[in-house]
């Protein structure tokens, strides 16, 4: 417990690094299967990220409020229920309404390819296919943040 931001402190990486990546792993709506979400949380932790997990059955509005307070870089949503199109639409709407569009949305789970366009349209930044390996999930998030830069 010290005050880390004191003038004159070393900050050699400051100019380049956006700091430790924070991710909110969320389960939206009536989807009670969170094994996948927990596996992803663990993968991201092992990649050096700080992962906040919301628990099950969250509404898009709740997820956005949590993401704002936690100041996460990314909301990662795992959906297996088939109701991804309306839920991501609502999530995107809540992000815009709360002026939190700087937070990336990454979708995973069971998402048929024919729905990709609709999701990207409603504010999803990246869709990770279900057969993706751990490093692809990590790279997807790192690439988004590298492109955005420090905020």
């Amino acid at each position: 417990m010290t005050d880390t931001t004191v003038t004159g402190q070393a900050s050699s990486t400051e100019a380049h690094s956006p700091g430790i990546i924070r991710v909110l792993v969320a389960k939206l709506g009536l989807d009670g299967h969170d094994r996948g979400a927990k596996v992803v949380a663990r993968i991201l932790r092992d990649a050096g990220m700080e992962v906040v997990y919301t628990g099950l059955y969250k509404s898009p509005n709740e997820v956005v409020n949590a993401a704002i307070q936690e100041d996460v870089d990314v909301i990662g949503v795992s959906l297996l229920s088939g109701s991804h199109v309306p839920l991501f639409k609502e999530l995107g709407r809540c992000l815009r309404e709360q002026k939190a569009e700087h937070i990336f949305v990454v979708a995973g789970g069971v998402i048929p390819e024919q729905d990709y366009a609709a999701l990207l349209e409603s504010g999803v930044d990246a869709i990770v296919p279900q057969e993706a390996r751990a490093d692809l999930i990590v790279m997807t998030i790192k690439n988004l943040i590298a492109a955005r830069g420090r905020i």
């Binding site: 004159g8 430790i20 932790r45 700080e50 307070q69 390996r133």
Partner: protein, 333 residues
């Protein structure tokens, strides 16, 4: 077929200088508060001036520390307290600390699972924080986050420590009121922790009092305190309160006890003493951290001393004095 991600193009974001966020923080903007906490956590030099400004506006909030063994029910209790304080009209802030991995530096911050509903329905500000290598039960920037919430008008501000082990009594020098939460059915643990953790309590709470074993834990705690091993502050009798977050039983008693302790601190003048010790600890902690950072920069100098100590030319104490530029004193000792 290669598996790849489908994504939208990303716009480069503009960096808003921290000092420009200060008015929004003071006005209570959740977005600004959250961002400022992140910058304090990351230790951005650019944020130092803004944090200094925010510090001037802090000092009003009642800071409550909640600590206890892993699984005692700290997060669940905090969730109940958020609701209890919010129903009295308080704007509650919470900093919940969880450990970072010593290997990857990453963390799973799980406290929010328990608190999300309360945060949502009560408009409380709940922030999860990873220790980022700091020992002692808190993160290095926990108190800067508390300053930010304090300046934004939150009170009480509850700090939930990591699950305690041996050395996690740092919360004593961070909070005004310390609640130590014990779980029933862990008789051995009570024995194990009595040397450190039990002594720091201003209020003892026993969780899961809907379980029959809780009564035994309550009487064990009361018995231990009657033995006089625990130093109480003058004019304050440390209560032992059984609570149940599931049934909501006696949560209000705990809330009232926290309020009474705050009143006691202010009326007895002990508050000024605690404020001083919090400030002292922060100055010294920061100084220690700055030293560490300086040594990290002076790698060559450090390497030279390491080699000299390995060669047995000088001993570690002399090397440390030289590193600090205190050569003369090193010779004297």
């Amino acid at each position: 077929m290669t598996v790849s991600t489908v994504s939208r193009p990303v716009k480069r974001a503009a960096y808003v200088p921290s000092i420009e966020l200060v008015p929004d923080v003071l006005a209570g903007s959740v977005l600004a508060i959250a961002r400022m906490i992140s910058r304090a956590e990351s230790g951005y030099e650019e944020a130092a001036q803004a944090l200094a400004e925010i510090y001037k506006h802090s000092g009003k909030a009642h800071i409550v520390g909640i600590t206890g063994v892993p699984g005692a029910g700290k997060s669940t209790l905090v969730s109940s307290l958020i609701k209890a304080f919010a129903s009295d009209g308080y704007k509650v802030g919470v900093i919940a600390v969880d450990p970072s991995s010593p290997f990857s530096g990453g963390a799973i911050l799980g406290d929010r699972v328990r608190m999300n509903d309360a945060a949502q329905s009560c408009r409380a500000f709940v922030r999860s924080m990873a220790t980022r290598g700091n020992l002692g039960g808190l993160a290095r920037s926990t108190l800067q986050a508390v300053d930010i919430l304090d300046a934004a008008g939150y009170s009480p501000i509850i700090i939930e420590t990591v699950g305690v082990g041996q050395d996690e009594v740092e919360v004593v020098t961070a909070a005004h009121t310390i609640v130590v939460l014990s779980a029933p059915g862990l008789g051995d643990d009570i024995q194990a922790i009595k040397a450190g953790i039990l002594e720091i309590a201003d209020i003892h709470a026993v969780s899961k009092c809907d379980k029959p074993e809780a009564a035994a834990t309550v009487s064990a705690l009361k018995g231990m305190m009657a033995l006089g091993t625990v130093k109480a502050s003058a004019g304050w009798n440390t209560p032992v309160l059984p609570v149940s977050s599931i049934s909501g039983e006696r949560i209000d008693d705990l809330k009232d006890a926290i309020g009474r302790h705050w009143m006691h601190l202010r009326e007895s003048g002990e508050l000024a003493e605690r404020q001083r010790s919090i400030c002292k600890k922060r100055i010294l902690g920061t100084a220690r951290h700055l030293f560490q950072l300086r040594f990290n920069e002076e790698v060559e100098e450090l390497e030279k001393h390491i080699q000299a100590v390995v060669n047995r030319d000088i001993d570690p104490s002399v090397a440390a004095h030289r590193l600090l530029g205190w050569d003369n004193e090193a010779q004297a000792t």
